[in-house]
Structure formats: C-alpha cells, structure tokens
C-alpha cells in the first residue's frame, strides 16, 4: 500500500469516526438549523390527538438533525376536513410541517370522491409512521337483555339502540357495518356529539350500544370494562386485537364474499390509526430523515416510559406500512365504493 492510499483510508476513518462520535446525521444535515417543526392537528386541544402529538414531539426531536424545536397547531373544523385541506394545499412542503390527520381521512375521501369539500388526496401524503391502530370496539351496555349477538338477533328490531354523532361520523359507519355484517336489527340514533354525551345517553337509558376506539375505551373507561358495564361484541379492524382474542371482527361476521369485501374496505381505516405524515411534495430525503427519527423514537426507553405513564397504548408501524394501507383504501374499485355507500344509505 502506498502512502497516498494509506492517507485516504485514514481520512475516511477520521471523518466516519467523527460523524459517529459527534452524532451528526448524514441526511439533510443543516436543513433544520434554526427551523421549527409544526405538527398540525385537525382537532381541538385536550384529546387523544393532542396527547399523542405532544409526546411524540417531545421525544422525536432528539433524533432529527439539529434537534429542531417542535410546536403543535390546532385546526379543528368539519371533522378534520378543514385541517386536511389546509395541510394539502397551504402547509409548507419543505419538511417542517407534519400532521396527525384523522384516521378516516382516506376512507371518507374515497367514499366521497368527486364531492365538494375534499381538496386532498390522502395517498399523496408521505406517512412517516403510526403510533397505534384505532380498532373500533362495538360495546354493548349492561342494560341489554343479553350481550350475545346470536341471542340478540332473535329479539325484536330496535332492542339494540346505538347513539352516534351523525350519518357521516365514524360511529354511524361502524354501527351500520355491524348491523349489516351480523344481521342484527339495530336502531341508530344520531345527534350525540362526542363520546361523553354518548356515554351519558347510555347511562340514562336512551341507548345501549356505542361503537368507539378500543384504545380510547381502555384509557377513558377502563373501570366500566372491568365491571363489565360494557362488553365488546365485535371489532371494526382487519384482524383481531391482541387484547381481545375472542372478539370477532366485522369481516369475520360478514357471511357473503361481497359483504366481506365491504367490511374489509371499512375496516381499513382502523389500520391507519394515529399516523403522522408530511404534505405531498416533501423532498424524499427529508421524509426519510423523519421516518428514521420516528422509528427510533418508538423504541426510545424514555418515550415508552412516558407513554405508559399517560396510559397511551402503542402499536407502532412504519411509514411504508401506513402508505400501503392508505393506497389500498384510495385504490378501492368503484363498484366496491358504490356498494359501501349503498349499504351506509348515502345518496
């Protein structure tokens, strides 16, 4: 080996060593210097979206080059639609803006394609990762004569009453899906805004069934579950939940292949869950940097400890996984979308 090649090797080793020791990130180094990352939340403060974003913001910055500070921005309106439209069209695309959009953004976009108001394409967002899936549990209240779907099917129509926010809400879609998949003759009441209002309605005897995210049930009303005031009878999810191995999914409950297709399409939104994304057109290297940072954060001991302290359930998945789930929802064939709309009673 001559002296020049030995020098070249020594330079390479020095540079690599210095990079490793000093923690300089090779991707996009310098871009986040003196910049602030904004996480857009299409809902108000104080809920699950705030909690998950705030904790991720606190821990992810150490894995992003230059450790940029992160702030949250709340943009509620139209069930998350306002925030999603803003994120798609107005938010800067350089890699300084991230959003935690509604898990139903893709499903609602596909169900309402061609309709006014949806100015985004969920499949064009760059997903950086998911913290937890949002499988919906169909919870039956203690006031029902039975919590067995087989027994309830034999009872007269209207024995099981669901309270939901409105026809375009997740609760309504879930209740309708359970009714069609299981053959249960449900009565669905609308106009109950928010889960607190719906819980109160159950206690007051106005209804006896409420579909909602399993994670949220566990975090908010774990005592109701322990006392068996509410029992999950089915799940809106592509697969069974590890917490509930004996509870079937609506896909399993569906009898015909056509119905199974519809239920799988609806259940897709649960797999999107609490997913973070960047707007369309974000440079690929910055998306990569954020994905790496996200994947490191979900393994970070301090983050995991804090999540436990705040009763945050986690079921992380990579950005690639979420991207595929969303692309499947958006790429659903027209006949499937029409059949789903018909089932939901949409015009």
């Amino acid at each position: 080996m001559n002296l020049n090649s030995f020098k070249a090797i020594l330079i390479a080793i020095s540079v690599m060593g210095c990079i490793t020791v000093s923690g300089i990130h090779p991707v996009s180094a310098g871009f986040y210097q003196n910049k602030v990352i904004t996480i857009i939340i299409p809902f108000g403060p104080g809920g699950g979206y705030h909690l998950y974003s705030s904790k991720l913001a606190k821990h992810i910055k150490q894995y992003i080059p230059d450790n940029p500070p992160i702030v949250l921005q709340f943009m509620p309106g139209a069930g998350g639609l306002k925030g999603a439209n803003y994120f798609n069209s107005v938010a800067p695309k350089g890699g300084t803006h991230i959003a935690l959009l509604s898990q139903t953004a893709a499903l609602f976009q596909r169900l309402n394609s061609g309709k006014k108001g949806y100015r985004y394409d969920a499949s064009k967002f760059n997903y950086i990762g998911r913290l937890v899936s949002m499988d919906a549990a169909h919870m039956f209240f203690k006031s029902l004569p039975s919590r067995d779907l087989g027994v309830l099917k034999g009872k007269k129509a209207g024995t099981v009453i669901a309270c939901t926010a409105g026809k375009a809400a997740q609760g309504y879609i879930n209740a309708k899906a359970l009714s069609v998949a299981s053959g249960l003759k449900l009565k669905i009441l609308t106009g109950y805004q928010g889960s607190r209002r719906q819980n109160l309605a159950m206690q007051q005897g106005e209804c006896n069934y409420q579909p909602g995210a399993w994670n949220s049930w566990k975090a908010r009303l774990g005592d109701w579950i322990e006392k068996k005031w509410v029992v999950p009878v089915a799940l809106t999810a592509p697969t069974r939940h590890p917490d509930l191995p004996n509870v079937p999914t609506i896909v399993e409950l569906a009898k015909t292949p056509e119905l199974k297709r519809i239920m799988s399409f609806i259940a897709g939104y649960a797999a999107v869950g609490r997913a973070f994304s960047t707007p369309p057109g974000t440079p690929k290297d910055r998306v990569k940097t954020l994905r790496i940072a996200f994947n490191k954060t979900v393994k970070d001991k301090a983050f995991l400890a804090e999540a436990k302290r705040h009763n945050m359930l986690l079921g992380p998945e990579t950005g690639d996984y979420v991207q595929k789930v969303v692309e499947n929802i958006i790429g659903a064939p027209d006949d499937l979308v029409q059949a789903t709309r018909k089932m939901l009673g949409y015009k």
């Binding site: 002296l3 030995f6 020098k7 020594l10 330079i11 020095s14 060593g17 210095c18 020791v21 000093s22 923690g23 003196n34 602030v36 904004t38 108000g44 403060p45 104080g46 809920g47 705030s54 606190k58 821990h59 910055k61 150490q62 450790n67 500070p69 992160i70 702030v71 949250l72 921005q73 709340f74 943009m75 509620p76 309106g77 306002k82 803003y86 301090a302």
Partner: protein, 188 residues
C-alpha cells in the same frame, strides 16, 4: 508515515468533539404547554398566532405556545373560561369582553394589547387557573415569560411579518373599563 498529518487529524477530531459537547442540547424536561386561541385559519390573527408559537419555540424558556384556530374573540372567551379542555390565552376585542358574562369575566385576567386589526384593538387575555398537572407557580412564571417574549425585539420582528398591526403595549384602562382584572404579570 507523515506525523504532521496524523497530528492534524487528531486535532480535527478533538475540535469536533469539543464543539459537540459545547452545543446546547434540547433537554427532555417538560416545558409548560400553553394554547393560544387566535381566530379563523385564513385570518391575520391565526398567522400571528403561528409566529408567536414559533417565537416561543425558538426564544421561549420553560414554555411553549401552541396556536389554536378558533371562531374568534367570543369563542376564545368561552374556551379560556371553560372547565374542561380549556385554552390558556386568547385574542379578543374590548367589544367581546363587554358582552361576556360576569361568570366568565371572573375566570380570566387581562394581559396586554397586541395591536390593531381593521381598526379594532386586539387584547390578550389569560385563564386564571393553571392547567392540570402544572403547578400554580410554574404557570405564573410561564405567563410572565410570555409577556417578556411578546415584547422582545426578536418576537416583535417575527410577529410583525405575519401581522403588520402588531404593536404590544399596556391596556390596563381598557381592561378596567370592561371590568376585567389585570394579571400580576400584565404589562403596565
């Protein structure tokens, strides 16, 4: 072997290590999170709220301000005085305050005037009660730091670029006229 070269490489590594050690790392200690209710997401006040939020992230110590697009002054008063899921700071006009209920007025305090928009003076109000899991002293100190930040030249420059009418000043007379008590850290 070129001894000078090895020496230079080692010095280079040492300088890098020292500069890394001297670089301030963002601590994981929790900042007090404050939410400011501004206005419609297409309006000037929302843009100003973003600038305030960014200024708090870059120059604030021990606190962070998050921007919340609301329906305006009336909505901000409602949210600042709400029992659950409340916000901490709100942009309002004196007209909004004069229409507020006595019960609501009791729960808020006046901080300062932020500037003018369409001929109306925009005031900053603050929730009296500290958020959950935040000590009373920590909350008071965070609010005091917010007032200092909003008066700092760095923040003023940033906020003015989003809202030309930004001109922070005391508004004790306006608050007194509408029956709003001043916060202990209010601009006098």
């Amino acid at each position: 072997m070129d001894q000078k070269f090895v020496k230079k490489s080692l010095i280079f590594c040492a300088v890098l290590l020292i500069s890394f050690a001297a670089h301030p790392q963002n601590s994981l200690a929790g900042d007090v999170e404050l939410v400011i209710g501004t206005g419609n997401i297409k309006g000037n006040l929302f843009a100003a709220g973003n600038a305030i939020s960014i200024a708090s992230a870059l120059n604030g110590k021990g606190f962070k301000i998050y921007n919340y697009g609301t329906k305006g002054g009336k909505d901000n008063i409602k949210r600042v005085t709400k029992k659950k899921k409340s916000i901490n700071l709100g942009m309002v006009t004196s007209n909004d305050l004069s229409k507020a209920k006595a019960k609501q007025i009791k729960k808020l305090r006046g901080l300062m005037s932020l500037g003018t928009l369409k001929g109306k003076q925009i005031l900053l109000i603050v929730r009296n009660k500290a958020p959950k899991k935040v000590g009373k002293d920590a909350y008071q100190s965070a609010i005091s730091s917010v007032v200092k930040l909003l008066n700092s030249s760095n923040a003023q420059k940033r906020i003015k670029s989003a809202w030309a009418g930004y001109a922070p000043k005391a508004a004790s007379d306006i608050f007194k006229n509408v029956g709003v008590k001043l916060h202990t850290s209010a601009m006098q």
